[in-house]
Every structure is written in C-alpha cells, then in structure tokens.
C-alpha cells in the first residue's frame, strides 16, 4: 500500500486535495443551482442532484483521505505530508499544511463523518437544498483546514471560515429557536477567536523579529520556547508573564469551542436547534477543534503558562466540574437531543482532564475520547434525527416501548448508547479508561471524582433508553412508526463497525498517536516537573 501511494506522490498533494475537493464541489452545486434559475419547480426537481453531488464528493474525499492511514509514519512526531506555498510573503504568511499523530485522526474522523452527515440530511432537508449542501462542503474545507494548518494565520482564517457556514446551517435549516441559537453560537465563538487573533499577531511579530513577521507554527514554537514572547506586565501587584496573556487568549477561544464548563451555554442551544447534520458535525468534529487547539497550540507553545499550578489545577478542576455537571444536567433533560448535548459537555470534560493531566496515557486517552465521542455522539444524533423525522418530537416522554415497533432502531440506539457510556468492548471504554489511568498518576483525587461521571453517564443514558425504547407502549401514535430503511441502515453500519473495531482493537490508532503524544508530554514535562508538586507525569 505504501509503495502504491508513494508511486503517485500521494504525500505531496493529499492535504491540498482534501481542501480543494469540497470547495470545487460546493461551487459546482451552486453553479448547478444557478443554472436552474429562480423557477421553483425546476429547483425542486433539480435539488436531488445537489445531495448526489455532495454525497459523491464526500465519498471521494473519504477514499482519498484514507490513504493517510498507510502513508503516515507512526515512528515520528514530525509533521508529515507537508505542503508549503507562500501566500502573503509581505506579511510572512505561508500556506503550509501538514499532519501529525494528533491531527491525522481528526482529519480521518472528519472525512469519515461527512458522508454520513449527508445521508442523515437526505430527506430531512427539503428547503434550499443547493445552498445547504454547498455550505456543508465549504464547512468541511474549513474544518479540515483547521486540522492541517501549519501556519497560525492560516489556522485563524480557517477557524473563522468554518463559522459562517455553520451559522447559516443552524440559522436557516434549524428548529424553532434557530435564530437565537445561531447568533449565540456565532458571538460566543467570535469573542474568543478575536482575542486569539491579537495573540497570533503578537506571536507572529515576535517570531519575525525586526523583519517580516513569521506565522509558521515551527518558527513560533521555537520563538516561544526560547522565551521571546515578551516581558511581563504588572497586574494587581504581581508580574504576569506575557506568555500567560497569550495562553489565556488562546485558551479562551478553545475553551469556548470545547466547551469547557462556564462557557458551555451556547452548546445546548446550538445542538438542539441545528438540523441533524449540523448536530453531528458540531458534536462530532467542531467541539474537537477546541481540544485540538489545546493540544496543538496552548500546551506546546506555552508549556510554562499551561503547567503553572494555578492554571493547570483550574483547568483540571473545570474539566471535572464539566464531567459531573454535564452528566447531572443531562439526567434531567426532557428533550433527548438536549440530553445528548449535555452528555457532550461531560465527555469533553474528560478530554480536558486528560489533556491537562499531561501524561502520555492521558493524552492518548483524550485523543481516543475525541474520536469516540465523534463517532458515538454523531451516531446518537443521527438516530435522534431519524426518530424525529418519523414523529416530529424529541421529547423523551412522547415515546415508550417503541422497541417492539422498531426493533432495528432499538438495537442500534441501545448499542450506540452503550458505547457512549463506555462499556468495555466498545470504543468509549478505551478512551475513558486511558484518561483515568493517566490522570490518576498526577491528580488522583480529581481522577477519582471523574470516575463518578462514568457512573452518572450510565444512569442518564440507560434511563433515557428505558423510557424511550422499553417501558410500556402506551401511546397509540407510536404504534405505527416505520423501522429503519435501507439508507438509514447504510448510514449506521459504518458507525457500528468502527465502534466495535476501536473497542476491540484500538492498537493501530494508538500507535499512530503515540509519538506525537510523547513529544507533547516531553515538551510540557519540564514545566510540569518544576511547577507541580506531584512531579512530571511519567
């Protein structure tokens, strides 16, 4: 396989192709829509083509991207499949792409989920299909761009770029309170990201020295590690180092995106109001950008600031608060989609715990949860969407006993829920287990507390399943629900397969992450040793 990929110089064009394919398809869909004109009938008849184009573009994208799995060299933490072109040389901005063990899995997760998201919208999106699918494609370019950017300026552009399609997807095709939800989503994200922009400009100017600014990731990391960020500022009688401000500017942007506990309030609104595919992408991919940002930028660029005891303990504590709070709030939600949304807060809390515990195992575990959560929660949102299309309600109380009516659906939902809880043998178990083991070495108390979150997860999920699928079939309108059709089965089967595969044999995935995780721990390790009483996590 490796030879075959090398023979077509796969590494030299793959990342560019991943960004270009969706963009071209999006333009193609819009051109197709524009050719149909403003005639409502023609648009109605032609709208089937829009989803076909989108589906095939995403399938091609996935097939092309899967080569990365084999071409990736798991023995090194260096950036691979790099692609460099100058973009705005006067400002020192390059169009630099690359993947390492952290971003590889995120890229594959994205390309894997997108075709399924299209299948999930197949019949539920009826209005303005051309624009919907074109925006989904542009969104994909933005998301992949975030994961593969090796230039901070490019990263920022991509980070902002994905915001607009999502804003429209929620705002136009969402539920009743879609306008409120989309604006909240937009403003929240923007507050964080603009401060990050200021930090990025500052870092780029410092990395460039007296000459042209330099926004390349490696250059900035080199500059930051040699203490070139700048002097500290007096604040409330204490000297706060400049790296701390930089760290906080980045951390705020990412904490909002994750979302970490006090910044999470946009998430339930956005999730609930978004159309199915929007929720799948939000939960499956976009939340991971926050945690990815911590792993890619906050920790490696500012190890001292992020491992400062106060900062680190705050983030660890907020992570655990997120785990428990998310789980407790999820338990009392009457709306199934909102329940899953809050369960995301809980799961992402685990990821934050793993990241800031900063051991190789906990970071690998955090990465595993990022993947697993994408798959399990994505699958849950797809299933909720399927149920919603049939009954037009997401109230848990409106169901009951439907396992008898829709056995296939019930089997799927039960299985996916178990993976979300983290049952051994499913993917969910691997990640949470690694995080707990890894973080127990550095923060035993918080790790123990987080374990309670796993129990809560079982409680809210199983209780919801019981009320929806089991109990007695007492509502007459539930007796006629049709079971999953062929398209829906096709959507779910890959997800189920991956859940089992990652649960039983996660080693290939872990192997590909290992070098990068170790390098990250080594980078923050020095800071950990000097600052934290428990000593560097090894």
């Amino acid at each position: 396989m490796r030879e075959l990929l090398d023979s077509v110089h796969y590494d030299s064009w793959i990342l560019l192709a991943l960004l270009v394919i969706p963009t071209i398809a999006a333009i193609g869909i819009w051109v197709h829509g524009a050719m149909l004109g403003n005639d409502a009938d023609a648009l109605e008849r032609g709208s089937g083509a829009a989803r076909q184009i989108a589906l095939w573009a995403f399938i091609v994208e996935f097939i092309v991207s899967i080569g990365l799995w084999w071409s990736f060299d798991s023995s090194t933490a260096a950036m691979q499949a790099t692609f460099d072109r100058s973009w705005i040389p006067t400002w020192g901005v390059t169009f630099a792409l690359g993947v390492d063990g952290i971003s590889l899995m995120m890229v594959l997760l994205t390309t894997f989920l997108m075709p399924l998201a299209v299948l999930g919208s197949w019949t539920s999106i009826r209005m303005k299909r051309h624009s919907y699918y074109a925006l989904l494609l542009l969104l994909t370019t933005g998301m992949l761009g975030v994961f593969v950017a090796r230039d901070l300026f490019l990263f920022y552009v991509m980070w902002e770029m994905m915001l607009v399609p999502m804003y429209f997807i929620i705002g136009i095709w969402g539920g009743e309170r879609r306008i409120y939800a989309s604006l909240k989503f937009f403003i929240y994200t923007m507050v964080g990201s603009l401060l990050m922009l200021v930090a990025i400009v500052w870092l780029g100017l410092k990395a460039g020295g007296a000459g042209t600014p330099n926004f390349a990731y490696e250059a900035i990391r080199l500059m930051a590690s040699s203490g070139g960020v700048g002097r500290g500022t007096m604040l409330f009688g204490a000297v706060v180092p400049a790296t701390m401000f930089m760290f906080l500017a980045f951390a705020l942007a990412f904490a909002i995106k994750v979302p970490m506990f006090p910044f999470h309030t946009w998430l339930p609104d956005a999730h609930v109001e978004a159309p199915t595919a929007g929720s799948v992408i939000l939960a499956g991919i976009m939340l991971k950008m926050g945690t990815y940002g911590f792993l890619r930028f906050c920790l490696p660029l500012f190890p001292d600031a992020s491992m400062h005891p106060v900062v680190r303990n705050t983030f660890l504590a907020l992570g655990v608060v997120g785990v428990l709070y998310g789980a407790l709030v999820a338990m009392v939600q009457p709306d199934f989609k909102k329940l899953v949304a809050y369960s995301s807060v809980s799961h992402l809390g685990f990821v934050m715990l793993g990241i800031f515990a900063a051991t190789t195992q906990s970071i690998q575990g955090a990465l595993m949860i990022m993947i697993n959560h994408g798959i399990s929660t994505g699958a849950l949102f797809l299933l909720i969407g399927m149920l919603y299309e049939r009954r037009h309600t997401r109230e848990i109380a409106a169901y009951g006993g439907i396992a008898r009516v829709v056995p296939l659906f019930a089997a799927m939902l039960t299985f996916v829920s178990l993976s979300s809880i983290g049952l051994p043998g499913t993917n969910g178990f691997v990640g949470e287990f690694l995080v707990l083991i890894g973080s127990f070495q550095t923060t035993p108390y918080l790790a123990t507390l987080a374990t309670v979150g796993v129990i809560f997860a079982a409680a809210y999920m199983l209780w919801a399943i019981q009320r929806i699928l089991f109990n007695s079939l007492d509502k007459p309108e539930n007796e006629q629900i049709p079971d999953l059709n062929a398209r829906e089965l096709v959507t779910m089967i890959p997800l189920i397969a991956v859940i089992i595969w990652l649960g039983v044999y996660p080693a290939p995935v872990l192997r590909r992450m290992e070098a990068s995780a170790q390098q990250l721990v080594a980078q923050v390790g020095g800071a950990t040793g000097s600052n934290v009483a428990e000593g560097g996590g090894r």
Partner: protein, 514 residues
C-alpha cells in the same frame, strides 16, 4: 521630469505637481457649462454622469502615470508622494461608484438636475487637494472646496424635508467645526510662525515648543475640527441625521470618501507636523479612538433603519482608522490606506444594495423590510452578506475586510510602544458590531418573506455593476491581498518628508522664545 525632484517654488512645476487636480477641476468646469446648456432631462443627466465618470478615469490614469514615473518634489505646499497618489485613487474609486449609483438613483427619485454629478466632481477635487496638502492653507482650501459641495449635495433632493433638515444640520455643524479648525490653525501658526506642515514639525523641535501652551491649544482645536469632519465620537452627533436624510449615493459618498479625505489630511498633519509632540496628543487620540469605536458600535446595535445603521457603523470605522493614526508609524499610514480602500469598496457595495432595494421616495429602508430577501433576490442578498461580513472583518466570506482590520491590528502591535490595550478594545467592539451586521444577514436569510411584501424591482444596470464589482473585488482581494499590500508599501507621508531636507521653503524668523 524623471529623476530631478520638482521645485515647487516655481509656478510651472507646482502646476505640474497639481496636474491631476487641475485636470479634474478644469474638466468639472467644462462639464458644468455643458450641464447647464441643455434642458434638464433624464437623458441629459445620464450623459453628464457618463462624462463625469470618463473624466475621473482620465484623472486616475494620470495619477497612475505619476506613480509609474516616480515623480518626486522638494518640500512645498503640496506633497508629491505615494501616500497622495494612493489616497487619490481610493477617493476616485469612491467617486466613480457615487456617480454610477447616482445616475440610477436620481432617475428613480426624479431628480433630473445634471449639476449633481458636477458637484460631486468638485467635491472630489477638494478631497484630492486634501490628500496632497502639505500646507495648512491648502488643507483649509481643500476642506472648504469639499464641504461646500457636499453641503449642497446633502440637500440635493429638494422635495424631501428630511434631506433639507440634514443638509442644514450638516452646514451649521460643518461651519462650526471649520471655525474650530481655522482657529486651531491660526494658533499653530502663531506658535510656530509657519503654515507649511514640514516646517511646523521642524520648528517645534528647533525652538523647543514641545510644551508650548499656544501650540497645545492649537493642536487641541484642530483635533476637535477634524473630529467633526471624520465624525469621531463625541463629535459625531450630526452624522446619523445627515446620512439618513441625504440621497443614498451621497450618504455612501459622505460615509466613505469624505471621511477618507478628511482622514488623509488629518493623518498627514499629525504625522508630519505634530510627530515631535507625539507624547502630548497620544493620550487624547487614544481615548478618541476608543470612545469612537465603543459609541459607534454600541449605538448601531439599536438602529433599525439601514441608513442610520450604516451611519453608526461608519462612526465605528472612523474609530478603527483612528487606531491607525494613533500608532504614528509608517506601518500605521500604510494600514490606513489599505483600510480606507477596503472600507470604501465595502461601504459602496452595501449602499449599492440599499439603492437597489429602495423604492421611489426613500421608502423600504427599514432593515426588517429585507426579510426573506434571499428567496426573491438571492444574488443581492449574497452580495449584502459579503459586505456585512467584510465590514465586520471576517475572513474568506467577508473577503478583504479581515485583512484590513488585521493590517491595523498589526500596525498597532508593531509600534515602538505597542497599543495592545487599544487593540483589545478594537477586537471587543468588533464583536459588538457582529450584533448589527449579522442582524442584516439574519433578516435576509433566516426570516420568512413577509406576506404581501412586494418583490423589489430589478435594479438599474449601473447599480448592479457597482454591487457586483464591489463583491468580486472584496472576495478577490480576500484571497490574494499580496499585490495590494505591496502597493501600499512605502506610502507613509513621514518617509517622504523626512527624506528631503527640512525647513528651506520659508525663511526662518528669529527665535521667539528661549
């Protein structure tokens, strides 16, 4: 002319340095005669407008020639540098868009007077004078030429009481602020004994005037005067009423070009003449910029009339431009020009959409009238979304707006004393601005079309041209800003003046003090 710098004390060479301005002014005079020659009619109005655009294109070509030749000049009453030429081009782009929009708009509003276009040309020649002025007298001449023409333009629609009210307000406050400006200039002259901007800067250093109260009061009064002209808070009160009342294309002209022109003189005076006393005025500038950004953005949130909303947004943008001035470095001037160009394009695009969607008699100007526009006029809605995101400073979908803001932020952080806190104010107020820019987008795309709302008539060809080219330019520059960035490089007035030998144009009076 190649090589040797022009000697501006020789009248023929001075005239040569002013050639683009003279061509525009002379052409405008001829057009005025032609405009009055024939009876008013829609056709005549269009013919004069077309000729006016042709004249502007000729002027722009002439300016391009000057740039290519790299003509330089010794210090004198007018500057011959890249800052002037690029500022001229920015102003001409705005003027062409104004006349193009006016031709459609005036026809719909049954304003058939062809003199309107000529007045715009005269105002523009005043602006170009401002962009090149290196002498307080020339600055004043430019400001008055520009303002008098714009007072008339604001009240051009004689049938509208709103326009009359706006024009009167504009005139009274304009005259008021000019008095401030003039008095400030007089005091500065009294303190330094010079009206030449470069000489003022040198004298301040030479005579140790850095704490002269006369100079300080003069600077403060000039600051107030310019604050009015660029509508910086708290001197912005006139702007929303005037902008709302004026004909829409003229509103765009005032919000973009008039403001940019006043800013060029503002910037040049403070960069060249008052740089030596930077520490004295820096704080007041800082606060002016911060207050302008906050006031403009926060009050814009409450506006439900699209013209008023854009008026407050233009106040906010004056605040962002003030940041570039506060920096007082070459990078600040470059980012100012870049920002002014992008802001001009986006503003004219947005007002172009307003013109396209308006109905005769200035109706349908509430933002809520745009509800569901996407379903009936998809291209206009997409274009408007691009302009809004561009004014918001959003990458990719907002095109070049992001780079403009980015350039200002970069200049502010790159300064010898980094303006970090001002930049934080800038980005936080930008978040606030999302509230009203996105409101327009939300109304157009996410609200259903109101039952019984008429489908807007197809806009005139020129309006569509302005909107489309603005959108394409913004998106295009948004992907490939490199050329434009290079273009604005090395355009700071500071470098031009400091390279030449200072203080030779006017004989020095004996030192007055110390």
């Amino acid at each position: 002319m190649n090589g040797a710098p022009l000697n501006l004390s020789i009248p023929s060479q001075l005239s040569f340095a002013l050639l683009p301005d003279l061509v525009l002014m002379g052409g405008a005079m001829l057009l005025l005669i032609w405009a009055a020659w024939r009876p008013e009619s829609i056709r005549h109005q269009r013919a004069v407008g077309t000729a006016a655009i042709a004249l502007l294109v000729i002027t722009a070509v002439l300016i391009g020639w000057f740039m290519l030749q790299g003509v330089t000049a010794s210090p004198g009453p007018v500057a011959v540098d890249r800052f002037r030429w690029i500022a001229d081009l920015v102003l001409i782009v705005g003027t062409i868009a104004t006349i193009a929009l006016s031709m459609d708009y005036n026809e719909r509003e049954l304003m058939v007077a062809p003199e309107a276009h000529v007045l715009i040309l005269l105002a523009t020649s005043g602006m170009m004078l401002l962009a090149g002025a290196r002498d307080l007298m020339v600055v004043f001449l430019g400001i008055e030429t520009m303002s008098v023409a714009v007072y008339v333009l604001a009240g051009m629609n004689r049938r509208s009481p709103r326009a009359a009210e706006g024009a009167l307000k504009y005139f009274l406050l304009g005259a008021f602020s000019t008095a401030f400006l003039l008095y400030g200039m007089a005091l500065v002259y009294g303190a330094t004994g010079a009206t030449d901007i470069g000489v003022i800067g040198d004298r301040v250093l030479q005579y140790g005037l850095t704490s002269s109260p006369l100079l300080m009061i003069g600077i403060a009064l000039m600051l107030v005067g310019f604050g009015f002209k660029v509508a910086a808070a708290p001197f912005h009160m006139w702007a929303p009423d005037v902008y709302e009342g004026a004909p829409t294309p003229i509103t765009a002209y005032m919000a973009a070009s008039v403001k940019a022109a006043a800013f060029t003189a503002f910037l040049r005076i403070w960069y060249e003449a008052f740089s030596p006393v930077f520490v004295r005025w820096h704080n007041s500038f800082w606060w002016l910029a911060a207050i302008t950004m906050v006031v403009g953005n926060v009050i814009a949130l409450r506006q439900r009339n699209v013209k008023r909303m854009l008026a407050y947004s233009s106040i906010a943008h004056a605040g962002y431009l003030m940041v570039a001035l506060t920096v007082n470095t070459a990078a600040g001037a470059e980012s100012f020009l870049f920002y002014a160009l992008i802001y001009t394009i986006a503003t004219f695009g947005a007002f172009g959409v307003v013109v396209a969607l308006g109905e005769a008699g200035e109706r349908s100007l509430a933002i809520d009238d745009y509800a569901g526009l996407w379903t009936v006029r998809p291209w206009l809605s997409v274009a408007m979304a691009i302009f809004m995101l561009s004014l918001l400073g959003f990458p990719v979908f907002g095109g070049a707006g992001f780079f403009a803001k980015w350039y200002v932020i970069k200049a502010a952080l790159q300064a010898p004393s980094p303006q970090t806190r001002l930049v934080v104010v800038l980005v936080l107020t930008s978040v606030v601005s999302a509230g009203y820019y996105l409101y327009v987008v939300m109304v157009m795309f996410m609200r259903p079309r109101l039952a019984g709302a008429p489908t807007p008539a197809r806009a005139g060809g020129l309006t569509r041209f302005v909107v489309a080219s603005a959108a394409i330019l913004l998106i295009g520059i948004g992907f490939f800003p490199e050329r434009l960035v290079r273009f604005t490089r090395g355009s700071a007035p500071l470098t031009a003046s400091r390279l030449t030998s200072p203080g030779t144009a006017v004989p020095l009076p004996p030192p007055a003090r110390q």
